[in-house]
Amino acid sequence: MQRAVINRWINFSPIDGPGNRTVIFFQGCNLNCSYCHNPETIEIYDNKSKIPGSLYLLTVDELIEKIKQNFPYISGITVSGGEPLLQLEFIKELFSKTKKLGLSNFIDTNGTIPLTEQKTLLDLTDGVMIDFKASNSADLIEVTGSDKLEIIKENIILLNDVGLLHEVRTVIAGGLINYQENVVEIAGFIAEIDPEIKFKLIAYRNHGVENSEGIIEPSTEDINNYKKLARTNGCKNIQIIK
């Protein structure tokens, strides 16, 4: 029976997809973003028998048992992390069971796991929130430590094609890269696919970030300017989170 390493879960969340949702944070991430808000979720545990006591090692049924008290009050679940798709087989099993219970399934991903071969997963999925952290390889390496630009772009196109793209998100972390350029390019890329795709600009906030040296919280004015930029570059559905 397969088990997943899970960091924690939130019973009710209004900010992880439509309606009220239970969010499960999977342990382990393939990136190392300088502004990561959950750095404790990054470390990957290959040997699942040696995980720290603060984490959970659960089967799908055990996880469901722990969150089923929430089911009457939620639209569905969202898997997040870390990068949840590193534990893809588990998520497929989880989604097939939650789907049967009448819940919707959402994925919150950093976009770097190729989805082209994942028909079974996508058939069980109702929506995906995907990060687009920078628009070119150099900046992507600067922000995340690796270059997965092409995979991210392919994933966005694919998700839009199959009607599962819930939103594309860019964190604005001042001082890190040139966000003028990045917003222009990301917005252009999105608008070319479909101007109605929801583009969420999230202002970086200091709290909870360990390695925050040199990263600056963008001002409201900055964020509003980026929103305008995105609009002039063709996006029609822009949301800013301050």
Partner: protein, 495 residues
């Protein structure tokens, strides 16, 4: 007489508040006839409390005027005919409100406002501003947060305008409830109500389908969150302190069930005597124009049997400590609460009152919300502030308990401002809770100036004023301040 002088000299009371307090003072020079020594003892102890209704009841405590009939037929006594325009309709209502008796001197129910006003919306050139004026007049002329209006379940133009206006005005009066049924209430209207709630802490959501089973369509949520039949109401509300009952049983080393039955019977008898005075000695049901004109009907009256302090009662009994314990956290504590309520309900089933024909003479259980002076007891069956488990656990625990209270019960939930981005999330919670049997869901945003005290709204800013010795317009601000000070309302968990 000293008390009267104190009222007169009190610089924080308005003129109207003084008059009401002085009248109460005078009434209490009398003594309710026929009380036995035991009944008197219980009233003097912590066990039973008549909530300062007065010693000589001369009007029912809660009156739910049949406003629909008033709109159709007008009133001979008030020399008003059926209105033809929105301005006339709102004007007639404002006049009628001044003539509805209650314990506070102000009506606890002012109508299903959307249904009452909807027929006049189309012919009005500016319905929004008329509704704004109407709601402002209510807030200023009826300065009491127990004044309660209802809307829903169906979406109407009037209902939407009322919500819009309430959100803009941010008044604490009236209290407002949306009768909600996911099948009857349009989603966009429900969402608008949630958005309004996140700004101004109202409306409440009432489980319409569930209340309909008890009352049919003719019911309203009134006062704090009491559910009662329209066209009638409740003669009286007396309440039992469950914590005190457990204390007494432990002290006397007797079975809790025995003491519960004893206090229930005594309280029922006290209620009977209050109602006997009201219906036999006071001429209300013979002389009041509302009765004579059929706007109130004696046959639609019941009485409310209130209980409170359940959490402390259960904690004391199971864990030996009333202040903190397993209530709200374990299945055992839920079972114990149900047992207590079953015993009381049994007493109500066996008791009939000739003057309260509604529900075949059986009084209705009510989870009483507490008053300012209460210390160390939680409202109704609520989990003590700060002791709540996670929201889903709380809902799973409390929803089945709501089922015991036809005449009103509520729980309050606090949401942080991120929910403003996604009001649908709160609707998900409400829908789930109603399916589980929750009867009344109230909520507010943790940053709102309007705070929900046990069952009504006050403004934080007004409490501040009162604390600085200024007079404030609303009587409930004083109550709210006292409640805030004696129960750590601010501890309520934010989600």
């Amino acid at each position: 007489m000293e008390e009267a002088l104190n009222i007169i000299k009190d610089g924080t009371l308005t003129q109207q508040q003084k008059i009401i307090a002085l009248a109460r003072q005078a009434e209490n020079q009398l003594e309710l006839p026929g009380l036995t020594d035991k009944e008197q003892d219980y009233l003097n102890s912590d066990l039973v409390c008549d909530l300062a209704e007065g010693q000589a009841p001369y009007r029912p405590r809660y009156n739910l005027v049949d406003f629909a009939k008033f709109m159709e037929e007008g009133s001979e006594f008030l020399r008003l005919s059926s209105p033809e325009t929105l301005a006339e309709a709102t004007n007639n209502l404002i006049i009628l409100y001044q003539n509805i008796p209650s314990v506070t001197g102000m009506p606890v129910y002012i109508g299903e406002l959307d249904k009452l006003l909807e027929p006049y919306i189309d012919s009005s050139s500016d319905p929004k501003s008329t509704i704004r004026l109407f709601l402002t007049a209510i807030d200023r002329t009826l300065p009491d947060s127990f004044v309660h209006a209802d809307i829903g379940p169906e979406k109407t133009r009037a209902g939407e305008l009322i919500l819009e206006a309430e959100k803009e005005l941010a008044n604490s009066v009236p209290n407002l409830t949306l009768k909600y049924d996911p099948e009857l209430t349009d989603k966009d209207f429900a969402i608008q109500a949630v958005e309004t709630g996140l700004e101004v802490s109202k409306p409440y959501f009432a489980n319409h389908r569930d209340y309909q089973k008890i009352f049919g369509d003719e019911y309203a949520i009134v006062s704090c969150y009491n559910a009662l039949p329209i066209g009638g109401g409740s003669h009286t509300l007396v309440r039992m302190n469950l914590k005190a009952v457990v204390e007494k049983a432990l002290e006397e080393e007797e079975f809790l069930a025995v003491r519960l039955r004893d206090v229930s019977k005594t309280m029922l008898s006290i209620m009977d005597k209050r109602i006997a005075f009201l219906c036999e000695e006071s001429p209300f049901f013979k002389s009041n124009f509302l009765v004579k004109e059929g706007l109130l009907d004696k046959n639609k009256y019941t009485a409310m049997f209130g209980v409170y302090g359940m959490a402390e009662a259960v904690n004391l009994f199971l864990d030996g400590d009333s202040e903190s314990g397993s209530y709200g956290k374990t299945a055992e504590s839920q079972k114990m609460a149900k047992n207590i309520l079953d015993i009381i309900q049994n007493e109500l089933n066996e008791h009939e009152n000739e003057h309260s024909p509604f529900n075949d003479g059986h009084y209705l259980l009510h989870a009483q919300s507490g008053i300012g002076e209460d210390v160390d007891t939680s409202p109704g069956c609520r989990i003590p502030y700060g002791e709540e488990p996670s929201m889903p656990e709380q809902l799973n625990f409390i929803s089945p308990i709501h089922q015991y209270f036809p005449a009103g019960v509520s729980d309050i939930f606090t949401f942080d401002k991120t929910y403003k981005r996604n009001p649908e999330a709160i609707l998900d919670v409400i829908k789930g809770a109603f399916e589980k049997g929750l009867r009344l869901f109230s909520f507010y945003n943790s940053e709102s100036d309007l705070v929900r005290i046990t069952g009504y709204l006050v403004k934080r800013s007004e409490i501040e004023k009162l604390n600085q010795g200024e007079t404030v317009h609303k009587d409930t601000v004083v109550l709210g301040r006292d409640t805030l000070e004696s129960s750590p309302e601010e501890n309520r968990k934010v989600r």
